[in-house]
Structures are given as structure tokens and as C-alpha cells.
């Protein structure tokens, strides 16, 4: 919006690039601090499943793919945007010419118009879709973190995992757009192709190999509890690929010397989860920020640690570091 009228107005002194950089950094820092979720209740006896990927140690949520049979989904009006948040059960909605089944413990935003098409944003959890072939129809696009799925006409499921996602196609084909990748995923295929499988029933080892591990827990952190929403997946009994949070922590720690920015990102991804490893990662992020002289980042992370884990193994250290920040 600009000032109207053609009369000469007093000038507006611009902010310097440095000031804008400070503002932007502070905003992201504050949002990141808020993004760390509170632990969710533990689900029954389902084994935790952690999905692999270098920066994917965030909350893992497995979506149910509960698809109706193929049918004609044309005609339902779109009155977006709508935000659907599910608790223990799934929620089925018809959105334009698509049928959407939102998994338990998920949050999905549906936006669109009949002319412009639909945009679905998976904030957390997952959803499955039955979408009429697009052809001349307006686009149907699903965003999950930094992954975009452009629908060509199919039945498919999308599960958000941190800033990434997993796409499973039952029928038809979708185009998946992720940083550095444009992949057509066809019926019966899954993206990304997982190669790592770790059984999380095995307790993780203490991060003793991590060269910069924070005050290492005197006892190994408990096995990563299935503290994220995990629901049954009867249609796909195959074991889930996973990323051991201990390994994720060690990987981040190993990067500190060579790529501290990546190490910090790894810690933050892990810290978005819950449990002992999230605590370790959040403290490690704050400690690393202190070492790098990033006072604002350090203050944010350490404050978040103290707030989230007041009785954590590193709570005292975090408070001491905070006390010495300039």
C-alpha cells in the first residue's frame, strides 16, 4: 500500500540492510523458538517409527492412508480457507473435486476456489487424498514443509515429517517438488525411497561418540517414546524406515567443526521433537550458538531449554550460560 495523492510527502528514511538483517534474524529466531512442540501424549503400544533423512529428526507422524474407492468427486464447493485439526480420530471432508481424509493428530489447512484450484497445507501429521484427474481442471497442490506435491489425478497420501514429507501413491501419478528434486511418483511407489531402517525398539546409545555432546546424560536417554501421534497403518504392514535420534544427534555434533550452521540446523530439527534427545539437542544448539558468538540465538535456545526442560540434565548449565551472555 502506498500513499495516495501526488503531493510531495516528507521522505521516509530507509532502514539499513544491517537493520533489516537483524530484524529478519530475530523474527526467525522467535518463530523457531515457538515451533518446538510440547510433548504429545504417548499412544498405546505402537512402536515408534522415525523416518530417516539428514535433517529429519523432528516429530515423526505416520499418517493413515484411508482411501475410499475411486469415484466422482466433482462438484463440492470450496469455501476455503478451512483449518482441520484432528484429535484421536480421522476426519473426512470433500473439498472441491477431491476427498480428503485427515489423519489423527493432524492439522491441515484447505484453501482454494473453484476457479483457481486447491492448495492444501499439512501443518503436521498427514492426510490422504482422492483427486479427480486434473486434465483441464484447476491445479490441486499439497504442501508439506518444503515439499510440494502437484496432483495429476490420483489417490495418494502425504505425511509431513518436520520440514520434509513422505508421499505414497495408490493410483495415478503425482509430481513431487522438493529442494533439488522434481520426481514423478507413480502408483505403488513411495517418495522418498528409504534406505535406512532402524528398529526403535532398540534403546539408543548414549551420545558418547558425539565430540561436543552437552553434559552427557549420566544414563542413556530413554528409548524414544512414541510420543508423537502414531496411528495404525493396516494397509501397509511393512516396517517403517527410521532415523535414530541418537544418530541424528551424533551427526549434528560431528558437523560442528566443519559446518556449524548445518550442525545447528540438525540440533534444531531434533529439538522440535520431545524427550531426552530433543532436550540434549536444544541445549547443544544453545551452547554452539554461545561458542559462535551468536548471542541472540543462544539466548533464544537456552531460554527455551530452561522453559521446556526445567529439570533437564543441562538445566543448570543452560542457566549459567544465560547468566554470562552479554
Amino acid at each position: 500500500m502506498t500513499a495516495s495523492g501526488d503531493r510531495e510527502r516528507p521522505p521516509i528514511e530507509p532502514l539499513t540492510d544491517a537493520a533489516w538483517t537483524r530484524i529478519e534474524r530475530a523474527v526467525w529466531s522467535e518463530l523457531d523458538a515457538e515451533a518446538a512442540p510440547a510433548p504429545l501424549p504417548v499412544r498405546r503400544s505402537w512402536r515408534a517409527a522415525w523416518i530417516g533423512g539428514a535433517a529429519l529428526a523432528a516429530a515423526a507422524v505416520i499418517a493413515v492412508v484411508v482411501l475410499r474407492g475411486p469415484g466422482d468427486y466433482g462438484g463440492a464447493p470450496i469455501d476455503g480457507p478451512s483449518r482441520i485439526v484432528t484429535a484421536d480420530g480421522t476426519s473426512d471432508v470433500t473439498f472441491g473435486d477431491a476427498r480428503v481424509s485427515v489423519a489423527a493428530h493432524s492439522a491441515v489447512v484447505l484453501t482454494g476456489t473453484a476457479d483457481a484450484g486447491a492448495t492444501i497445507v499439512i501443518e503436521r501429521g498427514g492426510a490422504s487424498f482422492a483427486v479427480a484427474p486434473r486434465g483441464d481442471r484447476p491445479p490441486f497442490v499439497v504442501h508439506a514443509g518444503e515439499v510440494t506435491v502437484r496432483v495429476i489425478g490420483t489417490r495418494f497420501g502425504v505425511e509431513r515429517v518436520g520440514e520434509r514429507a513422505r508421499v505414497t501413491v495408490q493410483e495415478g501419478v503425482v509430481l513431487v517438488v522438493a529442494p533439488g528434486e522434481h520426481v514423478m511418483v507413480r502408483a505403488g511407489e513411495q517418495w522418498p525411497v528409504m534406505t535406512t531402517l532402524i528398529d526403535n525398539t532398540t534403546p539408543p546409545t548414549a551420545p558418547s561418540t558425539a565430540p561436543t555432546a552437552p553434559t552427557a546424560p549420566s544414563t542413556a536417554p530413554p528409548a524414544p517414546a512414541p510420543d508423537t501421534a502414531v496411528v495404525d497403518h493396516p494397509a501397509d504392514p511393512r516396517p517403517r524406515p527410521a532415523l535414530d535420534p541418537a544418530r541424528a544427534f551424533a551427526a549434528a555434533a560431528a558437523l560442528e567443526a566443519t559446518d556449524p550452521t548445518a550442525a545447528l540446523a540438525g540440533y534444531h530439527a531434533l529439538a522440535r521433537g520431545s524427550g531426552a534427545w530433543a532436550a540434549n539437542a536444544l541445549y547443544a544448539a544453545g551452547r554452539l550458538a554461545v561458542e559462535r558468538g551468536d548471542t541472540a540465538r543462544a539466548r533464544t535456545d537456552l531460554t527455551a531449554y530452561v522453559r521446556r526442560f526445567p529439570r533437564g540434565a543441562n538445566a543448570r548449565d543452560a542457566q549459567q550460560l544465560l547468566a554470562h551472555l552479554p
Binding site: E13, L15, T111
Partner: protein, 199 residues
């Protein structure tokens, strides 16, 4: 009803931002930063405190994006939050201060140097007077009179009715002119700022 393409794009961008998509958030930050800064600067008259206020406003923007319904341009919606953030700051600010950091001093040989210097002095006096007004009046006056926005735009930014905005601008102008009665240069400057649709 066929939605306007730009608003559709805005809704999509808002939805992506609300989902935590950092790339989308950066895009919105880049789009909205200058308009939001312009609103704040015009209300406050300087960049003093603007850095912190912009940070607060952007955090509010990203927290509130779920509430964006695409009824106005996303940038305009962001400017309403910038306005409210500045309003809240003025409400709690005690005592009022005026710091003007408008532009570099004009070169001595610039033909309009005298006029610019006089305008700067008048503007500084004006904001000193505005410090004494109710924030609601100040905001309406600065956006409508100093910045030259239409009353409808000010109404949208402040969330007030058109009638309320007109009343606030009128009262602010009356008070400014009363206080500037002994300052002919200031009075002339204020008079010169009258927008087209000011009551």
C-alpha cells in the same frame, strides 16, 4: 464468484507461511517489510524504536496468518498489524519523545536546501505536537494528512469506521493548528499537507 488471482496467490502464500514454510515466510517478509516500515515510520516520525516494533509486528503477522481470509491484499493485512503494533506502542509509551532522523542534511548549495531545512524543522515541531495527542488521532492524522492516504485506506489500516477516522483527523488537525498558531512556518507546512479527501 471468481476470486481475484492476486488474492488467491495471497491466500496460498498465507497458508504456506502458516504451515511453517520458511521459504514462504521469507517471501512474505520481503513483500511486506517496506510497506510495514513506511506505516510505522509515518506514524512515529523517525526510525527510533522502529526496528523492535517491526520485529514484533512480523512475529504477530506470522502468528496470526491463520486468520487471514483473503479479503484484502496480504500486504495490506500486514500493514494493519504494523499499525496496531505501533498503536500499542504509543499507548504504553511514557513520556513521549520526538526524534527525527529524516534524511541527510542537504548540501549547502542545493537550490531547495532552505526549503528542505524549513520542512524538516516544521516536521519535527509537528511530531512534537503529535506526541501530545491521543494515539488514535495521531495515527489517523499521520496516515491521512502526512502520508496522504485516503480515509478509506486509513479506515482499513486502523480498523475504525470511516466516520471515526474523519473525526479523528479533524480533531487532530484542529489541535495541531491550535498549537501551531504561533508558528507560521509550521502552520503553513501543515496546511500544505491537506490530503484530497480530508474532511
Amino acid at each position: 464468484m471468481v476470486a481475484r488471482p492476486t488474492l488467491d496467490a495471497d491466500r496460498q502464500l498465507a497458508a504456506r507461511c502458516a504451515s511453517g514454510d520458511r521459504a514462504a515466510q521469507r517471501e512474505l517478509f520481503a513483500q511486506a517489510r517496506r510497506p510495514m516500515h513506511a506505516v510505522m515510520y509515518r506514524i512515529l516520525g523517525s526510525n527510533h524504536e522502529v526496528e523492535d516494533l517491526l520485529q514484533d509486528a512480523f512475529v504477530s503477522v506470522f502468528r496470526s496468518l491463520h486468520g487471514y481470509r483473503g479479503e484484502s491484499a496480504l500486504t495490506t493485512w500486514c500493514c494493519t498489524i504494523a499499525t496496531r503494533t505501533t498503536w500499542a506502542y504509543l499507548e504504553r509509551r511514557r513520556p513521549p519523545t520526538t526524534r527525527l532522523e529524516l534524511v541527510d542534511d542537504p548540501a549547502d548549495d542545493a537550490p531547495s536546501a532552505t526549503r528542505i531545512i524549513a520542512a524538516r524543522a516544521a516536521l519535527k515541531q509537528l511530531y512534537a505536537i503529535l506526541d501530545k495527542l491521543e494515539p488514535a488521532q495521531r495515527i489517523s492524522f499521520t496516515l491521512a494528512v502526512v502520508d496522504g492516504r485516503s480515509l478509506a485506506e486509513v479506515s482499513e489500516l486502523t480498523g475504525a469506521s470511516l466516520v471515526a477516522v474523519k473525526t479523528r483527523v479533524w480533531r487532530a488537525r484542529r489541535e495541531v493548528e491550535r498549537r501551531a498558531a504561533r508558528e507560521p512556518a509550521l502552520l503553513e507546512f501543515v496546511t500544505s499537507l491537506a490530503p484530497g479527501d480530508e474532511p
